[in-house]
Symmetry: C2
Subunit: 214 residues, 2 copies
């Protein structure tokens, strides 16, 4: 191999992580532009990284897709941590509205997400993707259920709403609406439909929401 | 070809549709058992139909997947037409609850549906799938929006709810919940989450609903 990647066995521990991060970034840009339909080989060609180099950093296409999505999520969480000091003040639905709004500017991302969740259904062919998606859903639902509980404590959400049922509903609505919007941008308005759901699962009240979301 | 299919050009118009329907049925059974991950060739092998024969009836894997899904939908509509005389009495959410309940007994079906919707996002690679999925969403949303309007006329649903926004929300919730349920059957309860949504978009009232749904 004449390029900058070391061959397996003589792995350069200093350059490795940087190069890996660089590849992930370029893959993310590629997916945003052209979608995720390509093979690992085609992805390598498109981002100017040899197939051998890609295979050095990622066991297979599944791992690359998962890592690209994970990188995106980490960036979002870092940005959120910088922006807000009290994330728990945001309602479950408002949380998903923001996420959908962000994703809107990165079209390839919803496609990547849809690919990961569909692959996850095929346990035999995509075991690692399945584990990643299952863990992610569990984490997101737990976070949203907490927000629903906070809404119940503040009196905004009816006490007899099951927080877990509500959390699954909010995630489902957000996922499904983004997909429908990509297929029919003139007919589907993610924000308006989610605002409808917020009537059922409101935040901590208009005053507090305005304070938490400048 | 030694099997029952005629070679292209000597298409048997009498046997053709029957054989095609038979292949669709077997493909549907295969997907229910083992998922949709296989190539057209592997599908042919699994259902005992030569690749050439499969290609005679279906231009490619996308067409087979779409036709299998369409066949399932037609069967459901026929069963509905037999069972009920007044489908418009059923609320939008109850409609999706029933659909989810049916799909639950055919696990491969939700995977097939997820595959079709994800493929649909890739306009370049799957134009026919995209057209099918777009038309299906449009049709389902229009039907649900009608049910929301009926709910508004009966006074069950708030008059300021936009029927189209509500329809997109209900489809999204139903799609997303079924997917989450497949990945975490112990954590997600499709019916309970949808019943939560029905608080926002109720049917025509308990009395009428009981009458319409024996």
């Amino acid at each position: 191999m004449a390029n900058s990647e070391a061959a397996p066995g003589v792995r350069s521990y200093r350059k490795g992580p940087e190069r890996r991060a660089q590849i992930l970034l370029r893959a993310m840009e590629l997916f945003a532009e052209r979608g995720v339909g390509a093979s690992l080989r085609a992805i390598g060609e498109a981002i100017g990284v040899s197939h051998a180099a890609l295979r050095y950093y990622f066991a297979n296409r599944d791992e690359l897709l998962v890592e690209v999505y994970r990188t995106h999520e980490n960036r979002v969480h870092e940005a959120q941590a910088r922006e807000r000091s009290a994330p728990e003040a945001v309602s479950a639905v408002a949380m998903m509205e923001r996420s959908a709004e962000r994703n809107r500017s990165i079209p390839g991302l919803v496609e990547l997400y849809a690919t990961l969740t569909t692959d996850a259904l095929q346990e035999q062919q995509h075991p690692e993707t399945r584990a990643f998606v299952q863990a992610r859903y569990q984490r997101v639902r737990a976070d949203l259920a907490e927000r629903v509980r906070a809404g119940q404590e503040s009196g905004a959400i009816a006490a007899d709403v099951d927080p877990e049922d509500a959390a699954a509903l909010v995630v489902a609505a957000s996922d499904g609406l983004q997909l429908q919007w990509l297929l029919a941008p003139d007919d589907v308005d993610v924000r308006r439909s989610l605002e409808l759901l917020e009537r059922l699962l409101p935040g901590a009240g208009p005053a507090e929401r305005t304070a938490a979301e400048p």
